[in-house]
């Protein structure tokens, strides 16, 4: 029976090394294929007609002219007469033609008569929302006696904060190529769920799950928005069937991608905090509103206050507002960046009211977190890296000139326990090692870490591993969500490769004259423990396998992690910004990220996760905002000229410190995709408040909002 535990730090040869991505070269040379690059013989191109109204009923739809349009091979009506449409950008019809241009021309020939109905697209217009019966209280949760605690508190702070809806903005829009042939449906997907998206499509098409064959190489971003097969895949499949099984290519255009294929809930919260004179918080009382689109925007109790969950007296009150926009999708650490902002902003505002250093206030209250020691250490480490002692000044008491700098704190947490996953390892008689998992690499480095784990376990190099993922015919692996992938695939790979190696030892042992348990695999050789002179090269050893390859499975079960994986991380970030108080422009000077994530398989891809996550939240803090226009019901900035995201010049210096002290390493692998996205908005917003002496209560922190906040302070 193999010992699956990770080798001790000093014995690791591949794990813990900053290995370059195994798919880096094909990506930077443009050879990696995405679903949008798939070209099949006889392929048709589809185009989608969407509804221009936020709320309407289809009175009639006439596709006859589209059907006669040049090159058109099939038309699907997706919103037949009578359909009530609840957001702009919703599916109405899809056309497949010989070229994309012909498909787009044909779509414009579809005649739809809409009955336009009243809409609500602005969730913080609460009186209108109530009048339209769109605001649904989701109840109150109370711990202790918040009213009494507020009366008894030495200090009470009250503030209101707002964070808008943003979209996922995947570099590669949603879409796929699908071919409904006689025996199977080929589905060239664009998904974070290779093992499950086929069954999802099959269900929509009412066909047996086994006939859908999912394949995928690379994905241009997903962030939680690409779990489902989507209505567009089902429509394209039906077009393919109608066109005699010809493959159909379809991807959303950018406008529709922004409108319907990604949405992170907004939040507004009125927060009251009471504290003792020394900064110890005694009570939290919050009332919040959010929308996640047409389906509302629930927020589970206990997300506010965030991290400081053990504050003894709490009241949480939330209202979900339904608006006429596409539904929310899981956005990298769903709800956490928003509630981190709401909580940390209120905490720093309390500190400012008490004329207290917020670092001191955070340290004073780490007792209310689940992991006080971890947060205390990370707060101090981040403070050291951003030079808090030297650079921090009381709120608004920085430089004399128009440009002011400031520091701020953000704090986070996440789970990241590995998902259920299975892995198959084959060791061929020629020495080839083949690893298969029905997983996916969203650009996170999944391929690379699987190869590292396999190489470590088998005593080989990363380049010796032939890894196959991205196919639902490989062993089932979980969807990539919740930062569960790295734990799931690394534990499954560890077990599978060691099981295969056990079998190899059995076949090789006789020729080395020892029992299998006396063998080890090191540096490309199978050798006798304690007697390295008795050994065979990997290739020689594999020649002893016989005709059939060795095949062994390995699974990760999150319920019995076996010391390989665990979940639950902290994370602290500190930002330094500069603000031009004449123009309201904010620029990020530096962001320090201190993050634990258990045992680190690849520090390079781990740091990259931090850079990427922080960059997304820098956008959310300073630029990104979905602007809904109540007059037209449209997402009026659904294009990249005014839906702003960061360029390299906007990102500033990011310093990553991965907290992998031995006690963290001992916890095994924990997911890192989401944790570092959580604290950033809070840190930046707090830094701006520290710089200019007043809270900008709404993100993104744009010049208009900075100038308005400064004007309010003067008044």
């Amino acid at each position: 029976m193999a010992e699956y535990r990770w080798p001790p730090v000093n014995q690791r040869r591949v794990i813990g090394r900053p290995v370059n991505r195994v798919d880096g070269l094909v990506k930077v040379t443009g050879r990696a294929t995405y679903s949008s690059d798939v070209r099949r013989p006889g392929m048709l191109y589809a185009a989608l007609l969407t509804c221009p109204y936020a709320h309407a009923r289809v009175r009639s739809i006439d596709v006859s002219e589209a059907e006669r349009s040049p090159g058109v091979r099939a038309v699907q009506v997706l919103a037949p007469a009578g359909t009530e449409i609840n957001w702009a950008g919703a599916d109405v019809a899809m056309v497949a033609a010989e070229t994309e241009e012909q498909a787009r021309d044909a779509v414009r020939k579809i005649k739809v008569d809409y009955e336009v109905l009243p809409h609500l697209v602005k969730e913080f217009d609460l009186s209108r929302a109530q009048a339209m019966n769109r605001a649904k209280p989701s109840g109150e949760a109370v711990t202790g006696d918040p009213d009494q605690a507020l009366k008894e508190a030495d200090v009470v702070f009250e503030g209101e904060y707002t964070i808008p809806v943003i979209t996922h903005s995947c570099l590669q829009p949603h879409g796929q190529v699908v071919a409904w042939g006689e025996k199977e449906i080929e589905f060239f997907a664009n998904t974070q769920a290779v093992s499950t998206v086929g069954a999802d499509l099959a269900k929509a098409l009412e066909v047996p799950a086994e006939i859908v064959h999912v394949q995928q190489h690379s994905v241009g971003g997903a962030y939680g928005s690409k779990f489902q097969a989507e209505s567009w895949a089902a429509a394209a499949a039906r077009l393919s069937k109608a066109a005699g099984g010809r493959p159909v290519w379809f991807h959303l255009d950018r406008r529709t991608e922004l409108e319907v294929a990604g949405c992170r809930p907004s939040y507004r919260a009125r927060i009251k905090i009471g504290a003792k004179k020394d900064g110890t918080i005694t009570v939290w009382d919050s009332q919040s509103w959010a929308t996640g689109g047409f389906t509302g925007g629930g927020l589970s109790a206990n997300l506010l206050p965030f991290v400081f969950v053990k504050i003894p007296n709490k009241r949480f009150n939330h209202t979900a507002v339904s608006v006429n926009t596409a539904p929310a999708r899981a956005w990298r650490a769903p709800n956490f960046p928003q509630v981190a902002f709401l909580t940390c902003a209120a905490l720093e505002d309390l500190a400012a009211q008490m004329k207290m250093d917020p670092l001191e206030l955070f340290l004073k209250n780490v007792q209310y977190t689940d992991r006080p020691e971890v947060y205390a250490w990370q707060l101090k480490k981040a403070a050291e890296l951003i030079e808090w002692q030297k650079k921090w000044h009381p709120r608004g008491q920085g430089e004399k000139g128009p440009v002011k700098t400031g520091l701020g704190i953000g704090i986070g947490t996440w789970g990241g326990l590995g998902h259920a996953a299975q892995c198959r390892t084959r060791i061929h008689p020629d020495g080839t090692v083949e690893i298969e998992l029905g997983s996916q690499d969203l650009g996170t480095g999944t391929r690379t870490v699987i190869c590292q784990v396999a190489a470590e376990s088998l005593g080989l190099r990363v380049g010796d591993i032939r890894l196959k993922i991205g196919d639902n015919r490989y062993p089932v692996a979980g969807a990539s969500g919740g930062s569960t992938t790295v734990g799931g695939v690394s534990a499954a790979t560890r077990r599978s490769t060691l099981n295969a190696l056990d079998e190899l030892f059995k076949r090789v042992a006789p020729s080395l004259g020892v029992s299998p348990d006396q063998l080890e695999a090191v540096d490309g050789r199978i050798r006798v423990k304690g007697d390295p002179s008795k050994s065979l090269s990997w290739k020689e050893a594999c020649q002893k396998i016989g005709n059939s390859p060795i095949e062994a499975m390995g699974a990760n079960d999150p319920k019995s992690p076996g010391g390989l994986i665990s979940g639950g991380v902290g994370g602290v970030q500190m930002a330094e910004v500069r603000v031009d108080t004449e123009t309201g422009q904010v620029r990020l000077n530096k962001l320090v990220i201190v993050q634990d994530c258990g045992m680190i398989i690849n520090p390079k891809t781990a740091e990259s996760q931090c850079y990427g996550a922080a960059t997304m939240s820098i956008c959310a803090a300073l630029m990104e905002e979905r602007i809904m226009d109540q007059l037209t019901g449209r997402f009026i900035n659904a294009a990249y000229d005014f839906y702003r995201i960061a360029s390299i010049m906007d990102v500033g210096e990011i310093v990553v410190h991965l907290d992998n002290r031995p006690e963290h390493d001992a916890r095994g692998v924990i997911g890192l995709g989401e944790p570092p996205v959580v604290p950033t908005i809070a840190a930046i917003s707090n830094a701006v408040a520290n710089a200019i002496g007043v809270r900008v209560p709404e993100v993104p922190i744009t010049p208009d909002r900075v100038l308005a906040a400064l004007a309010r302070r003067k008044a």
Binding site: E101, R104, D105, R108, R255, E582, T583, G584, Q585, R587, L622, M623, I627, D629, Q630, L631, T632, R634, I636, N637, A639, D641, F642, R644, I645, A646, S647, M649, D650, T702, P703, D704, L707, A708
Partner: protein, 324 residues
Amino acid sequence: MQSFEYASPTTLQEALSLLSTQWGEVDILAGGTDLLALMKDYIHTPKRVVNIKGIKELGGIQQTSAGLRIGAIVTIRELLENELVQKEYPALIQAARGIRGMQLRNMGTIGGDLCQRPRCWYFRNGFGLLALKDGKSLIPDGENRYHAIFPQGQAYFVSASSFGPPLIALGARVKLASTGGTRELPVEQFFVAPQREGEREIALKPNEILTEILVPPAKGVRNATYEIRPDEGVNWPLVTASVALRMEGNRVASARIVMGHVGPTPVQAVKAAAWLKGKQITEAVAEEAGRRAVEGAKPLSQNGYKVQLAQVAVKRALLAAVAK
């Protein structure tokens, strides 16, 4: 994108003969950085597209006795790298630097910059340039954070041109050609505020081509452009200001101040410029000029901040012009 006929003439005469007398029938393609997006969004659906990039006489930057001649298809990059421009026209160089994308600089042209369509999101979403509903603009009650603080009639969009303000400040003229001959206009007359949907925001006629830009000599003219940007990326500025100061010693003999992204045309601050006459540009004078430049601004419900930005942009442009 609607299918269209494509022509790529090599002479100006041939190109002119391919144009129409009606807007909407033919579009002129230079860098294509705006036109292609308009066509993909079906905001422009021309029947014919005439590529003018192959017409050599429309290119090149030359020094003439009357100043600088800049061909309409000179790219932003060519302009940035041109020593004549670098030497005397910092206002143009600074405006060009505001066009952040390398691809835009490589493809985009100065003529295209002047002729590009506004970025108003109602226009780009298909609601028309004036965004009229029942004869009234949607913009005052709509989403107007980036719109005009100097609207003209029903025109609330802002001119997107980067070079309009510095060229007006420098007293430049544009040359427009048609089959009937050529005409010249001061750049400030090239920009117009349409009052009816369907009218254009430039004085170019559908059968004309902007062929060149003539910039007077700027020896001794202190000039600068200052842009206030929401971020450092490939993005539109919130407000810009360009200034040109003819100096007598260290005092202003005459001045031009032009603000961008504040109105449907570049907006000249005539009174503020006149007030500068005889003054030395100090921090206090620049600040006061900024204040005077925004007098009469009529901000909308969400864009009051642009008044302050315009004021600061004018101040900083003035200080930049005299700095060294």
